[in-house]
C-alpha cells in the first residue's frame, strides 16, 4: 500500500492508500474510428480517427468551437455520431446510452448534486449500479482518501471550496471504477493558484493510478503539456496535429500547432536545401538559416521557420549557429522574465530571457542567436491529421 503526498499551498492533498488495481481494475483504451458529428449542414466533428491507449492520458486542445468537447461528449454518449464508431476497451459503444458505457466524467463546473452530502455524491454511481451496501461502505472512504477529502464526507457541496468540489467530483467519477476517465476542462473554473496545485495533483493521481485511461479536454496548453502523454490539436472539427507531447512541442507539424501549443516565432522562408542529415537551410529574406527538417520537406520548397521565444539568445552560441539582427520595438518585464519584441526584415520576432539588468532600449539594434537544433521547418499549409 503506497502512501504519497505532495506539498501544497492550499487545501487537503490527494493521497493514495489503496492499491491502484482496486480503483481501476482493468485498463481500457478509447478508439475514434472516422467519427463525425453534424447538426444539419454544420459539421462539428469531421472524421476523427484517434486512439487513446490503455493507461494513457491524451489531451485534446484547440480553440472554442474546434470540436474537442464534442469528441469527449461523443465518448460519453451525450452526442450521437452521424458517422463512425467509438470503441471503449473492446466494446463498440457508439449506440450505447451513457449509463451503459462505464465511464467516469468530471466537468468544468463540478456538477456535484447540491442536495446530497459529499459521501452521497461519491456513492451515487455505485447506488445507480446496484452495488451492495458493503461495497458502498468500503468504496466511499477509499475514494475520498484518494483525493484527500476523508474529513469532508458529511459536508454539502456548498460548504466546500472550488478545489475541494473538484476533488469530490474526481472521487465520484473514480468510485464506479470506470474503464476510462473523461475530464472536460476540469480546472477552468478554478483560480490560477488552485489550478496549478490541482494540476500537480492530477499528474500525481495518474502516477498513482497508472492504468487509468484519461481523455482530457482543455484549451489550456500548460495543462496539456503538464499532464498528457499525447496531445491532439483540433481546429474546425478536425484533428490537425497529434503526437507525443514533447515531440509536438519541439517539432510542430504545422503553423497552427506551433502557435497553439506554446508561443512560437514563425518566419516565412524560401528555397529549402538539404544540409547534413535531418537538417536543411532556408532563405529568410537575405539571411540563410539552418534548422531541423523534421518533416522531410523537399528541396526547393517554401516553408516556415519555427523558433520558440525562449530558444533565442542574446549571446552567441557555438559555431554554425543562426544569427538575426533586428530593431527592438518593445521590452516588457514580466517578473521572472523579460520579453523583447524585435522587428526583423518586416517580421516580428519575440524573445524571452531571464530578467535583464540592462534591457535594450526600443529603437536600438539587437543581434539574436539560436541553435539550428532548436529550429523546426514546418510546411506552409495545415496538414490535417
Amino acid at each position: 500500500m503506497a502512501t504519497n503526498s505532495t506539498t501544497m499551498s492550499q487545501g487537503p492533498q490527494m493521497r493514495v492508500s489503496a492499491p491502484a488495481s482496486r480503483i481501476v481494475p482493468g485498463a481500457s483504451g478509447i478508439g475514434f474510428e472516422n467519427v463525425s458529428v453534424a447538426y444539419g449542414d454544420q459539421v462539428i466533428l469531421d472524421a476523427l480517427t484517434l486512439t487513446v491507449k490503455p493507461g494513457e492520458i491524451v489531451a485534446l486542445i484547440g480553440p472554442s468551437g474546434s470540436g474537442k468537447t464534442t469528441a469527449l461528449r461523443a465518448v460519453a454518449g451525450f452526442v450521437q455520431p452521424t458517422a463512425g464508431r467509438i470503441i471503449i476497451g473492446d466494446r463498440d459503444v457508439t449506440r450505447l446510452p451513457p449509463y451503459k458505457r462505464n465511464i467516469g466524467m468530471v466537468v468544468q463546473n463540478y456538477a456535484l448534486f447540491p442536495h446530497m452530502r459529499v459521501e452521497d455524491n461519491v456513492a451515487f454511481g455505485l447506488r445507480a449500479r446496484g452495488a451492495s451496501a458493503e461495497v458502498i461502505r468500503e468504496r466511499i472512504p477509499e475514494c475520498l482518501r484518494l483525493v484527500g477529502m476523508t474529513a469532508y464526507g458529511k459536508r454539502y457541496p456548498r460548504e466546500l471550496s472550488g478545489g475541494q468540489q473538484q476533488r469530490v467530483a474526481i472521487a465520484r467519477a473514480l468510485a464506479i471504477r470506470p474503464q476510462v476517465l473523461l475530464l472536460d476542462e476540469p480546472l477552468s473554473a478554478l483560480d490560477a493558484q488552485i489550478r496549478r496545485s490541482m494540476l500537480d495533483e492530477l499528474a500525481k493521481l495518474h502516477r498513482d493510478l497508472p492504468s487509468l485511461t484519461v481523455l482530457y479536454v482543455t484549451h489550456d496548453q500548460t495543462e496539456a503539456l503538464t499532464l498528457a502523454d499525447h496531445i491532439g490539436i483540433m481546429r474546425d472539427g478536425k484533428l490537425v496535429a497529434f503526437g507525443n507531447a514533447q515531440s509536438l512541442y519541439r517539432h510542430p507539424p504545422n503553423r497552427f500547432a506551433a502557435e497553439f501549443l506554446g508561443r512560437a516565432n514563425i518566419l516565412p522562408a524560401r528555397s529549402l536545401q538539404s544540409a547534413e542529415p535531418g537538417f536543411a537551410c532556408v532563405r529568410f529574406g537575405d539571411t540563410v538559416l539552418r534548422g531541423r527538417n523534421h518533416h522531410a520537406l523537399p528541396d526547393g520548397s517554401d516553408s516556415l521557420v519555427c523558433i520558440r521565444p525562449h530558444d533565442l539568445r542574446l549571446q552567441p552560441g557555438g559555431a554554425g549557429g543562426n544569427t538575426l539582427t533586428g530593431i527592438v520595438r518593445a521590452v516588457q518585464w514580466q517578473g521572472d522574465l523579460h520579453s523583447v519584441a524585435l522587428e526583423v526584415q518586416e517580421q516580428t520576432l519575440r524573445l524571452t530571457c531571464n530578467p535583464l539588468s540592462d534591457p535594450p532600449a526600443p529603437g536600438t539594434e539587437l543581434v539574436v542567436h539560436f541553435d539550428p537544433a532548436d529550429v523546426t521547418l514546418v510546411p506552409e499549409h495545415v496538414a490535417h491529421g
Binding site: 460519453a76 454518449g77 466524467m105 456538477a111 448534486f113 442536495h115 467530483a169 467519477a173 464506479i176 473523461l182
Partner: protein
C-alpha cells in the same frame, strides 16, 4: 433635485413628511377591503337579531349542508391539486429535459391558460364530454346507444378534471423556472455514472424541484378552494362547495347571516392556506439562497 435620484435611506423613509404617504393606500384598503370584511364578520356574529352571539356559527357549522360543502371543497381542492402536481411535473419534465422541436412553443401555449377565465374550460368540456358532446355523440353512434355512456362531467370528477386543466399551468410555471436552474451537466454526469432516466428524475430532478412543487401545489390548493366559476358552470348534482354555498345562501335564499358565517370560514381557510404558501416560498427562497 439630487436627493430624488439617491435611493431613500431608512432615515429618509421615516422623515415626518413621508409618513403621511401611508394614508392614501391605507384609505383604499380600508374602504375596499377591510370594511367589507368587517361587515361580513359583523353579520356573521350579530345576525338579524342584532345580538352578538356565536349561535349562528354553531348552528351553521353543525349543519349537514355546511359539512357537505366543506367536505366537497376540501376533496375537490386536494384531488385537483394532486392532479395538477402530477400532470404539471410530467409535462414540465418532458418540456424541460426531452429535447423536441416546439418545446418552447408548447410551454408558452400552456402558459397562456393562466390568462383565460376558468369557466371557459368547463364550457369547452361540455362540448367534448357533455351529454350532447362530441365524445358521447360519437360513442352513441358507434355503439348504437340511446343514452350517452359517459356522464362524469356533471359529477365531482368533472369539476376536478376542469380544475386540473385550468390550474396545471400554475404548477408548471414555477417548475419550469426551477428546472431551468438545474445544471444540465448534473444530469449528464448522473447518466455517465450509470443512472437511468427514472433514477435521474427521482434523485436529481425531483429534489431540485421540490420547493417549486410545494409552492405550486399550495397555490393550486388556494385557488381550487376558492374556485367558483367552474363549479357553478358544471352544475354537478350534489356537488356544493363553500363558495357556491355562500352564493346560494346570499343570492338565492337571501339568508345573509348564514352566507356570512360560511364566508368567514372560507376566508379563514384561504388565509391559512395563503400563510402556508408564503411560508413555503420563504423557506424555499432561503434554501435556494443557501444552495447557491
Amino acid at each position: 433635485m439630487a436627493d430624488i435620484a439617491v435611493a431613500p435611506s431608512a432615515r429618509a423613509a421615516h422623515s415626518p413628511q413621508r409618513r403621511y404617504w401611508i394614508a392614501p393606500p391605507l384609505l383604499v384598503l380600508v374602504v375596499l377591503f377591510f370594511y367589507p370584511l368587517a361587515l361580513i364578520l359583523r353579520e356573521a356574529l350579530v345576525g338579524e337579531d342584532h345580538v352578538l352571539s356565536l349561535a349562528h356559527f354553531a348552528s351553521v357549522l353543525r349543519s349537514n349542508q355546511f359539512l357537505s360543502g366543506l367536505y366537497h371543497t376540501i376533496t375537490i381542492a386536494l384531488s385537483a391539486s394532486t392532479g395538477c402536481l402530477v400532470l404539471g411535473f410530467i409535462f414540465s419534465v418532458i418540456i424541460a429535459f426531452i429535447p423536441f422541436p416546439g418545446a418552447k412553443l408548447i410551454a408558452r401555449v400552456i402558459d397562456t391558460f393562466i390568462a383565460l377565465p376558468t369557466f371557459l374550460v368547463a364550457l369547452a368540456f361540455t362540448f367534448i364530454y357533455g351529454s350532447a358532446g362530441l365524445l358521447n355523440q360519437s360513442l352513441m353512434h358507434l355503439m348504437h346507444l340511446e343514452l350517452p355512456p359517459l356522464n362524469f362531467l356533471y359529477s365531482q370528477w368533472g369539476v376536478i378534471l376542469s380544475e386540473i386543466t385550468v390550474y396545471t399551468p400554475f404548477v408548471m410555471r414555477p417548475l419550469l423556472a426551477s428546472f431551468s436552474l438545474i445544471d444540465p451537466s448534473q444530469i449528464e454526469v448522473a447518466s455517465s455514472l450509470g443512472a437511468r432516466p427514472w433514477r435521474i428524475v427521482r434523485r436529481i430532478i425531483l429534489p431540485a424541484a421540490l420547493p417549486a412543487l410545494i409552492a405550486g401545489g399550495s397555490l393550486c390548493l388556494l385557488l381550487t378552494v376558492n374556485e367558483f366559476g367552474i363549479v357553478l358552470f358544471i352544475g354537478a348534482k350534489d356537488v356544493i362547495t363553500l363558495p357556491l354555498l355562500v352564493y346560494d345562501k346570499a343570492i338565492q335564499e337571501f339568508d345573509y347571516t348564514t352566507a356570512c358565517v360560511i364566508a368567514v370560514v372560507n376566508i379563514a381557510l384561504s388565509l391559512g392556506l395563503y400563510a402556508f404558501y408564503r411560508m413555503v416560498i420563504a423557506y424555499c427562497g432561503g434554501r435556494r439562497a443557501g444552495m447557491g
